[in-house]
């Protein structure tokens, strides 16, 4: 019997706002425990929530990037349950009137191109962190409590763990790209729960599903899916039934464990949050948000491939990384040829970044500065090898390309008569080699080139030099 996997994902993305969703405590990771709290996020008596404007803005960008429809009206609801990391005894979330619904994301893989449908994306708040101690107690850190989240729910459109992995990768890249989430799965700023069922191939009805939590990396998602698939198939093959339950992925043992809870299925008793008012978004505002979106990675990818004809590697890097892509675009706007620019980005710029262990965002040369250097090469003012040198100097001492070229007198010697003189002198100074060349040792051309380049301190226009040498060598 062949079984088919049916998977849906629930992705929680922490937004990159400066403050929390409903209070103005800083939204920061890694601070000492319980130092980022206030009456509101601690759920103290008398405290009230106030929605962060930037949460709405970032959620709007996220929804639009996923091709979702932003609802003109949405509201908040309370999701009621008891847990140590939930100080109010309820989470402020959105139930029946979410911020956005619909949308899709295309994923590419060995299957070709597949469109994954998104059911909804809504706004909610994160809980604190509970840590289980060896002595049997639980300790709680409330720093994370109240951090804004968008929950993205997909339709059960995935049929393999690779599709799921590709989707998470694509969404992660997209959210980082539009700067609403840093996508760090290890730190938990992007979390993914999996809803999974299996059914005999050909069956259209869905079988019962389970939910897997605590998958902290894309690899864990893939492994978790495969593990659970096995478990469910075994159950069916032995004549049993899969029951709906929540399971935990144990990273250490790479196993699925049941998440045993004393109570039965949670009744969250959703009802409208009385302390928060309705959210409305006008069509004009939606257009404004849309204008605020950058060119998205898949659009860039297509353009770089089909219009600029860049190599696959350049396409991948420049469309996947927002900062690099934007820098590249700036070079193009300054008139640099696409392939030349791509070459510089993939070559010297990348080398400079890795050697200094820097991100593109911290790259010290403005696009105009680099463009000036590149254009000096294109105009043959300097050779490419000199340019690389100048580049390094620009990075270390902060001078402009022009300043360095002038100060060190690096501009290429292209003057015909000057070059001719130099070539003649080289030939004159090396009579033995000249004789050998004339008697058949053609490979000595590179020797003469080397000597001539040395004589010009590398500043000769190589093509012109080669032509002159050839001309003078060929004359008897």
């Amino acid at each position: 019997m062949t079984y088919e996997l049916v998977i849906g994902l629930e992705i929680h993305a922490q937004l990159l706002t400066d403050t929390k969703a409903f209070c103005r405590c800083p939204n920061r990771y890694g601070e000492p425990p319980n130092t980022l709290t206030c009456p509101t996020c601690l759920g103290m008596p008398g405290a009230l929530p106030v929605l962060n404007r930037n949460v709405v803005e970032q959620s709007a960008l996220l929804a639009l990037a996923l091709n979702a429809t932003i609802h003109p009206h949405s509201k908040f609801d309370r999701k009621n349950y008891f847990y140590p990391d939930l100080p109010k005894g309820y989470q402020i979330s959105q139930f029946d009137e979410p911020f956005s619904s619909g949308g899709w994301q295309d994923v590419e893989g060995e299957w070709g191109m597949k469109r994954i449908r998104i059911t909804r994306a809504h706004i909610e708040e994160d809980a604190g962190k509970s840590l289980h101690q060896d002595d049997g107690s639980t300790v709680v850190d409330m720093n994370r409590c109240g951090v804004p989240l968008v929950e993205i729910v997909t339709e059960p459109d995935f049929r393999s763990e690779s599709e799921a992995a590709a989707f998470i990768t694509a969404v992660r890249e997209l959210l980082r790209y539009i700067r609403v989430c840093d996508g760090n799965m290890e730190r938990g700023s992007l979390r993914c729960d999996v809803n999974i069922s299996v059914r005999p191939l050909g069956q259209t009805a869905l079988n019962e599903r389970t939910e897997i939590k605590n998958l902290n990396s894309i690899r864990a998602v893939e492994r978790g899916i495969l593990c659970e698939r096995e478990r469910q198939i075994r159950i069916y093959e032995s004549g049993g039934q899969v029951i709906r339950e929540t399971l935990l992925w144990d990273e250490a043992t790479e196993e699925i464990r049941p998440m045993r809870r004393k109570e039965g299925a949670d009744d969250y008793r959703y009802f409208p949050e009385p302390d928060l008012v309705e959210l409305t978004v006008s069509p004009e505002e939606i257009e404004r948000y849309r204008d605020g979106l950058p060119e998205l990675p898949n659009v860039r990818r297509k353009r770089y491939r089909e219009q600029l004809h860049l190599h696959e590697e350049a396409v991948a890097v420049l469309s996947g990384d927002r900062e690099q892509g934007d820098y590249f675009e700036a070079l193009l706007r300054l008139g640099v040829d696409a392939r030349t620019a791509a070459g510089w980005m993939q070559g010297e710029v990348r080398r400079a970044l890795t050697s200094e262990n820097r991100d593109m965002a911290d790259f010290p040369l403005a696009p105009s500065a680099l463009a000036e250097l590149i254009q000096a090469v294109e105009r043959s003012t300097i050779s490419i090898s000199v340019a690389k040198d100048v580049f390094r100097k620009m990075l270390t001492d902060g001078r402009s390309a022009r300043a360095i070229i002038e100060a060190e007198n690096l501009s290429q010697v292209s003057d015909e008569s000057e070059l001719r003189l130099i070539v003649e002198r080289v030939l004159a100074e090396n009579p033995d080699e000249l004789a050998k060349y004339k008697s058949g040792k053609r490979n000595l051309m590179s020797f003469f080139m080397g000597q001539a380049m040395k004589a010009t301190r590398g500043r000769a226009n190589p093509n012109r030099l080669a032509e002159l040498l050839q001309e003078l060598l060929d004359t008897p």
Binding site: L42, M44, G46, F82, K88, G89, V140, F271, P274
Partner: protein, 490 residues
């Protein structure tokens, strides 16, 4: 329950009138400290009334010094001279905030409610936190760990609830004014029972930041004072948008004092027939109708109106308020603050035992009711239905206010009852709110003004209800009612 005998066999009335008026104190700032001292002494002398939970001697002294200095420097301080009490479900920084519950008995708030901040910034001095029904759930101020609040007019009777302590603090002339909270009548009912004025503002008029919520879509911080004018003075300072409360209205506070006086033009006064139905005591009805006649002779027109959904207000209220309360009170779980049961050895116990031991019976009942109406399978039939009927109630008022300017009703069907009388049957207790609850559901302002006593000498309250943000008008009418009551022409 036996009634406590006051220290001397003198009638209560001789004790009243000892507190100088805020105006007098403001004009003689050096007397403010003495007045504060007197208030604290008096509060302790009248301890048997159980009006106060915490007295703030040191803090009040500090405030007094600051107010005196401020006056010397010429700062405006419009409420300098006012002594206040604050219901113990309203937060003051570094002061115990008990909500009259075991679960918060030793809890200290880390911030101050906006309303209190504003009043103190205007020069008012808070001398203590007052007793209440636990978490504001009750109509008699008997559901409290600090002993039932007693009515100073008749100490074997209730003060009304849930803001009983605050009503008594004013009625017994300990302070000039006090803050309470009103979710279903918890300011107006005790005002009526104790013979003082009590105001529930329009929903959103006064910030709820710092008020421990009961029914968040219904709650408002309200005030007690001896006169409607006094309430106006307090409201002007407290009211206005607060960025820390998302449900806070943008309406600016009522305008300046110079324009406040008795009402200058004649009003169309609506008499909603459903509020004068069975259950109304004869004395109460007589007093109210008599005042209505006086108002008519004074030039206002009287119009009969109908608010047909009135009878459903109690069920709607009890569904919505308890649902909201059950959710809000989930935070009291013994984990981060407050009482934790000593028997608890594992997490479920921490929650269940803490809450079982920490909450009083009435609070537990309401948590159960609220949890039930929100639970799977019942939400549509109860919660959603109640929200729909709530809209119908709001529509009733809108229609009425297109025909009349204000509505006049009794505040309560009866005058105060004996301690313990209604504790056995919650339903009977719930019905005390039948005339006050509708204003909370509609979010409209309502005022209770004392208009005399019944044949047993127990105070009767007249309720004046206005449309949204019409506090000035209803308080002006209140002033006129006070004049007519006292035989003083305005």
């Amino acid at each position: 329950m036996s009634s406590p005998i006051p220290k001397q066999n003198l009638p209560w009335w001789l004790y009243l009138k000892m507190l100088p008026s805020p105006k007098n104190l403001r004009n003689h700032p050096d007397l403010i400290l003495e007045a504060v001292e007197q208030a604290l002494v008096r509060a302790r002398d009248l301890e048997s009334l159980h009006a106060f939970v915490t007295l703030l001697d040191e803090r009040a002294h500090r405030q007094t010094a600051a107010v005196r200095d401020g006056l010397r420097r010429g700062e405006p301080l419009p409420l300098a001279g006012w002594l206040l009490a604050v219901k113990d479900n309203i937060a003051i920084q570094d002061v115990r905030l008990t909500c009259a519950s075991k679960i918060l008995e030793n809890f200290t708030s880390r911030f101050t409610a906006t309303a209190v901040e504003r009043l103190e910034a205007a020069g008012a001095i808070v001398i203590g936190k007052t007793n209440l029904d636990e978490f504001a759930m009750g109509s008699s101020s008997e559901n409290t760990i600090f002993g039932a609040v007693r009515n100073p007019v008749a100490p074997d009777r209730v003060a009304g609830g849930s803001s009983g302590g605050s009503a008594v603090a004013v009625a017994a002339d300990i302070v000039h004014g006090s803050l309470g909270s009103d979710t279903g009548g918890s300011v107006r009912l005790p005002a009526s029972f104790c013979g003082v004025c009590g105001l529930k503002p329009t929903y959103g008029r006064v910030s709820r930041y710092g008020l421990v919520a009961y029914g968040s879509s219904l709650d408002q911080i309200g005030a007690f004072a001896h006169t409607s004018q006094g309430l106006f003075d307090l409201l002007r300072v407290m009211a206005g948008r607060d960025a820390r409360d998302s449900s806070s209205a943008h309406e600016p506070p009522p305008d300046s004092r110079n324009q406040f006086s008795a009402i200058k033009h004649s009003l169309r006064i609506g008499i909603p027939e459903e509020y004068y139905a069975h259950g109304l005591s004869a004395d109460v009805e007589t007093a109210v109708r008599s005042m209505i006649s006086k108002l008519e002779r004074h030039g206002h027109s009287i119009v009969s109106v109908s608010l047909p959904h009135t009878k459903y207000a109690i069920p709607v209220y009890y569904i919505l308020a308890t649902a909201e309360a059950s959710s809000h009170l989930a935070r009291f779980d013994g984990a981060r603050y407050g009482f934790r049961s000593e028997q608890a050895t594992e997490l479920t116990d921490v929650y269940e035992l803490t809450r079982g031991e920490g909450f009083g019976l009435e609070v537990q009942r309401r948590i159960m009711m609220g949890t039930f109406v929100l639970s799977a399978g019942y939400f549509d039939a109860y919660y959603r239905k109640a929200q729909q009927v709530r809209r119908r109630l709001l529509e009733d008022f809108s229609r009425a206010f297109s025909k009349v300017d204000v509505l006049l009703t009794p505040t309560s069907p009866t005058t105060t009852f004996r301690l313990g009388e209604k504790l056995d049957d919650p339903l009977t207790m719930y019905l005390s709110d039948v005339l006050t609850v509708p204003a909370n559901l509609a979010g409209i302002p309502a005022l209770s003004v004392p208009i005399g006593n019944d044949s047993q000498g127990l105070p009767i309250g007249l309720q004046i209800i206005g449309p949204h943000f019409a506090e000035t008008m209803i308080l002006q009418l209140g002033t006129e009612v006070e004049g007519l009551r006292d035989g003083v022409s305005s």
